[in-house]
């Protein structure tokens, strides 16, 4: 790469490539870079979103935020979602992929079913699960009653101590298809020689999995974990459409708190302070993943 010299016909390449990149880069600056800078600026101001006047308030928005229990509660919920999303869809997705991969018949059918929920709009998922969670006639309560466990039934998304777990179950159903398909593709691409060698050496199924299959699946695992972390930090639709962050902010995450503060209460400055907190936190969580992906791509191309 270092001793690469442009051929004569590549002399105008720079200009043509520059023209190609112009529009996307301009879009990116207008719709990503500028709004982020503007949000940071707004977080030091007070504004109702409509009046032409924006008042500088220094650090007050951050002080208000750091003194409000709602913020810590949202943050804690994001952390819970992060832990849940990193462990559950990834773990269950891996399990399902191993299961389907081991079947001799019907792989296509099960793949179709397990991946289906991931294609649905989160709003539709929310509408369906709100009905399943309906406290008296919903499927969950009715099933518990039917098998004699009715005392366990509750107002699944109407009670503060169950609401986030109820949302997580819906989130798992919706998102597990992604990890499943990533692991399934990873399993199909495993070098058969390695598995064969392990079998000939007399490795048990468990040993084969922990010593051969799982390490070879690392690229798939990294993707599934990374994307789950991204989703957990961005989480909005499922919570907003199912509970709006309620009851009494119990299921709030940073994104719903921000949206409610901005467009519900028209406190753009405070909402921007929440945004900045989200940006910083997701940068810390997601940056290693982005760097890892970029390196992977570079390495893969240098191998060829």
């Amino acid at each position: 790469m270092t001793n690469y010299k442009p051929a004569p016909w590549e002399r105008n390449a720079r200009l043509v490539f520059g023209l190609f990149l112009f529009t996307p880069v301009v879009f990116f600056i207008i719709f990503y870079i500028w709004p982020v800078i503007e949000t940071i600026r707004l977080s030091f101001q007070s504004w109702d979103g409509l009046s032409p006047r924006r008042v500088d308030v220094g650090l007050r928005n951050y002080q208000v935020l750091l003194a409000s229990p709602r913020f810590y509660h949202s943050l804690l919920n994001n952390v819970r979602w992060l832990v849940f999303y990193v462990l559950m869809p990834t773990g269950v997705g891996l399990g399902l992929a191993l299961l389907v991969n081991s079947l001799s018949r019907g792989q296509g059918f099960f793949k179709l079913i397990y991946f289906l929920p991931y294609t649905l709009p989160p709003v539709a998922v929310a509408a369906i699960w709100r009905w399943l969670y309906e406290p008296s006639a919903g499927l969950l309560t009715r099933t518990l009653n039917e098998v004699g466990l009715g005392f366990l039934a509750r107002n699944w998304i109407g009670e503060a101590d169950t609401v986030t777990y109820s949302l997580m179950a819906a989130g798992l159903w919706w998102s597990v298809g992604f990890s499943f398909i990533v692991f399934f593709a990873g399993l199909r691409n495993l070098p058969l020689e390695c598995l064969e060698a392990a079998r000939i050496d007399g490795a048990s199924a468990w040993q084969t999995f922990t010593k051969v299959t799982f390490p070879l699946l690392w690229p798939s695992t990294a993707i599934a974990l990374g994307m789950s972390a991204v989703d957990a930090m961005r989480l909005f639709d499922i919570v907003w459409a199912m509970t709006g962050g309620g009851p009494a902010y119990a299921s709030d995450v940073l994104a719903t708190q921000m949206y409610d503060t901005a467009f519900g209460r028209l406190k753009m400055g405070e909402a921007s302070a929440v945004s900045v907190a989200m940006l910083v936190i997701s940068a810390v969580v997601i940056m290693p993943f982005i760097i890892y992906m970029a390196r992977q791509v570079e390495r893969a191309e240098n191998d060829h």
Binding site: V16, F20, Y32, L99, V182, V230, L279
Partner: protein, 270 residues
């Protein structure tokens, strides 16, 4: 032997799990076909399919369903085109500059969309694009740039460079090569990306909530959300509306399952 015992249970387990996965959808379909009096017994089947639910649901969200189509189709075309236009040079430029531009665009994948909503709302209102369908095209094209660029760059990088060089030696210009040779040869990549972009744009709730406020431009997701969180919920009508709103994505998934999966995998890995 333990393993052979376990092996025997695999097929049945897969079937049971599949049944669990389908349960919410089956309940939704069943409920959508019930008369109001039947709805509250979730286990029962409808005496006769009660299609009035669908008529009422269509009455409430039909307009927004067309808005969604009008937003999604051009939105997908624009965003995929922008991704291809940005991905092509980035797949050819070797060395520092290309990599830095690429990383610069990729940082967009790190930005949670919520944090741009306030400035975006002001921007679109000042441009006169608030509550318009073309405004939604613009927004979805712009916010698709990172993922589409990432996807198309990696796709083009897998096209042999000799093809590019041969075309140039034959006297074909770079732009001509891109439009006449590379794009027509990349249909599988473009199709896969189009499918996942359709899913993303059709399913979007956040941008639509910020940027639309009535049925002139409101997509079906926002209308469904309003129905869901309404105080007086008619479960039969709501499930019918839900099923109508998922129909296009589910049909495209069933028809183009391969491209769908390829898109999901290509957008995250490679």
């Amino acid at each position: 032997m333990i393993t052979s015992n376990v092996k025997w249970t695999r097929g049945p387990s897969a079937v049971v799990i599949a049944a669990l996965f389908m349960t919410p959808i089956v309940v939704a379909i069943n409920t959508s076909l019930k008369a109001p009096a039947e709805v509250l017994d979730v286990f029962s089947l409808p005496a006769v399919p009660y299609l009035t639910n669908y008529v009422q649901a269509w009455h409430q969200i039909g307009r927004t369903f067309f808005n969604s189509l009008m937003i999604t189709v051009p939105g997908v075309a624009l965003s995929v085109f922008l991704g291809a236009v940005a991905g092509f040079p980035l797949s050819q430029i070797k060395g520092r500059v290309g990599f830095i531009v690429y990383l610069f665009l990729l940082t967009g994948m790190l930005v949670p969309y919520q944090i741009v909503q306030i400035p975006l709302f002001s921007l679109m209102r000042n441009l006169g694009f608030h509550n318009t369908i073309p405004g939604m095209w613009l927004v979805h094209a712009a916010y698709g740039v990172p993922i589409c660029t990432f996807f198309m760059r990696n796709f083009f990088a897998s096209v042999p460079r000799s093809m590019f060089e041969a075309a140039l030696i034959d006297g074909c210009g770079i732009a001509t090569y891109f439009f006449k040779v590379l794009l027509p040869a990349s249909t599988s990549g473009l199709a896969a990306l189009s499918i996942i972009q359709s899913r993303a744009i059709w399913n979007d709730l956040l941008f639509a909530m910020t940027l639309t406020n009535n049925d002139n431009a409101r997509p079906v997701t926002v209308a469904l959300n309003a129905l869901t969180s309404g105080l007086q919920v008619q479960h039969g009508v709501l499930m019918a509306a839900t099923l109508i709103s998922v129909l296009p994505v589910v049909i495209s998934y069933l028809l183009f399952q391969k491209a769908f999966v390829a898109g999901v995998l290509g957008g995250s890995s490679k």
